[in-house]
């Protein structure tokens, strides 16, 4: 399933490394990354594919939440469809 990982927090060394390592360990493929500094906050958006991840989606959510707590970052993973719904009019795809 296509999902979006968003990471928000104070900029510091190794954020991309830590998040991408965690995703690699769950066998989640990163398809695209963008990062920016918004209002003094580091913001990273990753488009990922979870189809080869053996974990259930709620377990992925928990793992990333745990990593976020450890590293003082706000890390979310949400299916891409919620962003498609809210921000694009022409992408009514089947399923999630």
């Amino acid at each position: 399933m296509k999902a979006i990982v968003s990471v928000i927090g104070k900029d510091k060394k190794g954020i991309i490394a830590k998040v991408s390592t965690a995703l690699y360990e769950m066998n989640i493929n990163i398809e695209d990354i963008s990062q920016t500094i918004m209002q003094d906050y580091f913001t990273m958006i990753m488009a990922v594919d979870t189809s080869e991840c053996p974990l259930k989606f709620d377990a992925i959510v928990d793992k990333l939440k745990e990593l976020g707590e450890k590293t003082h970052l706000e890390i979310h993973i949400q299916l891409q469809s919620i962003f498609d719904s809210m921000h694009k009019i022409d992408t009514d795809k089947k399923g999630l």
Partner: protein, 449 residues
Amino acid sequence: MYSSNEIIETINMISQQHLDVRTITLGISLFDCITDSKQRTCDKIYDKIMSKAGNLVKIGNDISSELGIPIVNKRISVTPISLISSASKGHLEIIRTLDKIADETGIDFLGGYSALVHKAMTPYEREFLLSIPEALSTTNKICSSINVATSKAGINMDAVALMGKIVKDCAYLTKDKDSIACAKLVVFANAVEDNPFMAGAFLGAGEDDTVVNVGVSGPGVVKTALEKCNGDLTDVAECIKQTAFKITRVGQLVAKEASKRLNASCGIVDLSLAPTPVIGDSVAHILEEIGLESVGAHGTTACLAMLNDAVKKGGIMACSNVGGLSGAFIPVSEDAGMIKATQIGALSFDKLEAMTAVCSVGLDMIAIPGDTTADVISGIIADEIAIGVVNTKTTAVRVIPVYGKKAGDTAEFGGLLGTAPIMNINTYSPSKFISRGGRIPAPLHSNKN
């Protein structure tokens, strides 16, 4: 790929502005459960609902986790029980069965202990109505709604008179819990058949076997968007429309996914802005953001009319089928801004009645003094229902005459039902009018054929 702004906007809407899907309501038809035996009817109802809704809570939680958006309530609505129980006269047994189902499935509410008596009451329907106080005072999650009028049929004033007494009985039987049974009872004009919101949800006779109806929320999101809007009222309306569009799209997504997983048809998305008592989730605060010192000020009705219209215009394009109540809700106890306006004396009962003429749904979650007579409550119902009938819209009354309390006191209902300052009401008697009974004929403009 999305811009960071889009992603952050969505995340902030959820984490800071209380955007949520208020409810996934699974409507289940019970027509195939009708028998002339109380026991067999109950068994069939139990088997059918458990087979269709056994996984409702889990599926709701899964979708919530995947999309990263709270789905606050998982609810069931059923065919009006008065229709299902009339052959067996087993309504009291059915209420026990529904209570057991509500506990075992872990859902938040089950609606449909209902009757449609807008033109007249059969002798059995009268008996059914009289069972409502017992049904609501001995269960926690069951909700009841009674349709006493339609624009086509007029107003059944016998039912209105009876409902005043029933509301009083509900209040008395739950006197140790601030008369909470009244919070689970709503009296309607022009009740809709696909409403996902409680206490008024039931599944109408024209509906499919199982249907998913979704209610969205998001007053906080609209308020936050308006904080950045410095334009004139056309700009304000546009800002509300655009925000409502985004909110409703999430509802549509959840409705489609839930219906697929529950193997039910995808019914409607209800566009209502439903507040909660949490700070930052208030419809009143939207009206104040538009420019009122307090909700209840002169100008409130106009602001609310614009808000209600803009929410619909934004939402209608965002989903395939709009239904339910679809408008701004103004429940007093469930909205921090309404509670405060009542406490400081800015918002009166009569102003609330005027506001209901331009929004959904009606006099909702208003606590009134416990010594209010049944006839006065019937008068309140009659006034509100007349607004709905004449304006060809749904209106409803959910008032709580809090036993033992008077104006200025506070009633605590807890959870989503919130806290209600008890409002002053006009106590002059409408008894002669109410005791006349009969039916107020349908208005002239309803004769459209």
